[in-house]
């Protein structure tokens, strides 16, 4: 491993029952600083639920989630905002404030980190241009198309240049061209040092990029495959195509000691 391969986000032995018909079972995963990981699985596999645990909107029944210096088992309620300001989240259902313009929605995420209005205005043009919504900046979400709303959600998540980006199905409402654009944007952000965990059900889409893919099915990780890195992160190459799950676990045990 290269020396900068520090773990920025990890889940250890996470289990949780949700309703009568579904549970997350012994989930283990680690994401290195600057890594790009796809989380793939069919509808209802538990992708959104797993992400929700990572931004601590829900807590594991057993096991542990670690994001940066935040540990779910040692977390006080009050520090959750600090965690969320360090990460970016693209929600599957967008979660935009309907009574605020596109500009205000994105600005909100920047304001809460204490960014000044001058700074926000300076950065906004670039962010909005990136997702192709500069001309819609004063529109309200209900007047936007599904794809446009999704791109606002994306813009908001990347506005703070987060250390970790959790993207839940960020291209579900986008046409192939826009999907390509957004993926390129995510890769570019990743190249800037942000670790990205992107949940999607579109296995065909993600296969072509050769990134690491974690397969989730019925609440279990069935495969965690690291493929050859392409694009801007080509410099970090891992030849092993076998499941790295076991290796990563032992890896962790070395650096972090036994957990729980």
């Amino acid at each position: 491993m290269t020396p900068d391969k520090r773990i920025i986000a990890a889940v250890y032995h996470l289990s949780k029952d949700l309703g009568k018909h579904f549970k997350l079972q012994d989930i283990n995963l680690q994401i290195a600083n600057g890594e790009f990981v796809f989380l793939v699985g069919p509808s209802g596999a538990g992708k959104s639920t797993l992400l929700r645990m990572m931004y601590m909107d829900d807590y594991p029944a057993s096991g542990q989630v670690v994001v940066g210096k935040f540990v779910s088992t040692r977390m006080r309620r009050k520090t959750i905002p600090n965690l969320r300001r360090k990460i970016g989240i693209i929600f599957q259902d967008f979660r935009l404030l309907e009574d605020r313009t596109v500009f205000e929605n994105i600005a909100l995420a920047m304001k809460v980190t204490g960014t000044g209005m001058g700074e926000i205005k300076r950065q906004m043009t670039e962010i909005l241009t990136r997702v192709g919504l500069y001309h819609k900046r004063y529109d309200y979400p209900p007047a936007l198309s599904g794809g446009e709303q999704q791109r606002v959600a994306i813009a908001r998540a990347i506005a703070n240049r987060p250390a970790v980006l959790l993207a839940d199905e960020p291209t579900g409402n986008l046409d192939p061209a826009a999907t390509k654009n957004i993926l390129e944007l995510l890769f570019k952000i990743n190249a800037g040092g942000t670790a990205v965990l992107m949940a999607t059900h579109d296995i065909d889409l993600v296969k072509s990029f050769g990134q690491r893919i974690i397969y989730l099915e019925e609440g279990r990780i069935v495969r965690d495959k690291e493929m050859i890195y392409v694009g801007d992160i080509r410099d970090r190459i891992d030849q092993s195509k076998v499941s790295r799950r076991a290796e990563m676990l032992s890896d962790h045990e070395i650096t972090d000691g036994g957990k729980e």
């Binding site: 905002p81 965690l83 935009l96 404030l97 304001k111 809460v112 204490g114 960014t115 908001r156």
Partner: protein
């Protein structure tokens, strides 16, 4: 960074007030009317109890002297009267004075007195009690005591009227207390529920703000400011309405008293605090921040 945080909390509050203009207006009017009722109630209480108190304060104990009582005995009665702890003042009222007063009191009917042969009224001493001792128990005791003194024919203090008035005041205060409590609780209830409806309405927005990393302060402060402003504006509204009503009523019922200015400003501050507290506690309960 600290300064920015502060500025954005202010921004947020202003933005929220602007966006929620309609909802705020509704809340303010509902609360304003509730407060109007509370304040109107206070005002009525103030005036009625003022009248009753004034009347009962004017109650005096009269000691009527026997016909032909000498100067010495009379002076003795005076000093005995002054000797009673609860008595503030003893005034001599001669029979002539008394007749003149009576004539005046009779008004139109006073020509009845023209038929009198001489003056049938006795000399008297009028005892004024110290404030706080004007109670039927005290008066009864003094009356019984004075009746035993030499030279005293009779002691009177309008027992029936006074007792009735006293009972009325007591009843009034109890009803007052009960009604006041109910109205006060209602106002608190209305305010906290208005805030609660607001928060339920904004639940989705609040959840989203939490998800993008807004601190509790960032979310709460605008609500608390909103609550305080609502309370303040509502109480001002109530005050203005009440004053208008007071002016109208004053044209027909003379001698009405308005609530004192410092009490009004106290009321406004109190309502602002109430609004802020309502917001805060509603958030504690419903947001689990």
């Amino acid at each position: 960074m600290k300064f920015n945080q502060f500025r954005y909390i202010i921004d947020e509050s202003v933005g929220m007030l602007r966006r929620r203009m309609a909802a705020n207006l509704i809340a303010v009017v509902i609360m304003g009317l509730s407060l109007l009722i509370l304040a109107a109630f206070l005002l009525v209480t103030l005036n009625i109890s003022g009248v009753i108190e004034k009347t009962s304060k004017e109650t005096r104990v009269f000691i009527y002297l026997e016909d032909g009582t000498g100067e010495e005995v009379s002076r003795e009665i005076y000093s005995r009267g002054m000797g009673i702890e609860e008595v503030e003042e003893v005034v001599f009222i001669s029979r002539d004075e008394a007749l003149a007063n009576f004539r005046q009191a009779l008004g139109e009917e006073s020509d009845l007195l023209d038929a009198l042969e001489g003056n049938p009224l006795p000399d008297a001493y009028r005892l004024k009690l110290k404030p706080g001792y004007i109670r039927s128990k005290v008066m009864e005791r003094i009356a019984a005591q004075a009746a035993e003194w030499p030279g005293v024919e009779e002691v009177r203090y309008g027992r029936k009227w006074f007792e009735r008035g006293e009972k009325l005041v007591r009843g009034f205060y109890i009803v007052d207390l009960a009604l006041g409590l109910i109205v006060f609780l209602s106002v608190i209830f209305v305010i906290s529920n208005t805030v609660r409806l607001t928060i339920l309405n904004r639940r989705r927005a609040i959840d989203i703000m939490k998800l993008v990393g807004a601190t509790n302060a960032y979310i709460q402060v605008p609500f608390i400011i909103e609550g305080a402003l609502q309370g303040m504006v509502s109480s001002l509204l109530a005050g203005v309405l009440l004053f208008t009503l007071f002016q109208v009523a004053g044209r027909y019922i003379p001698g009405l008293v308005f609530i004192r200015t410092d009490a009004v400003s106290g009321f406004v501050v109190f309502c602002a605090a109430l609004g802020a507290l309502g917001s805060f506690s509603a958030m504690r309960r419903h947001l689990k921040l």
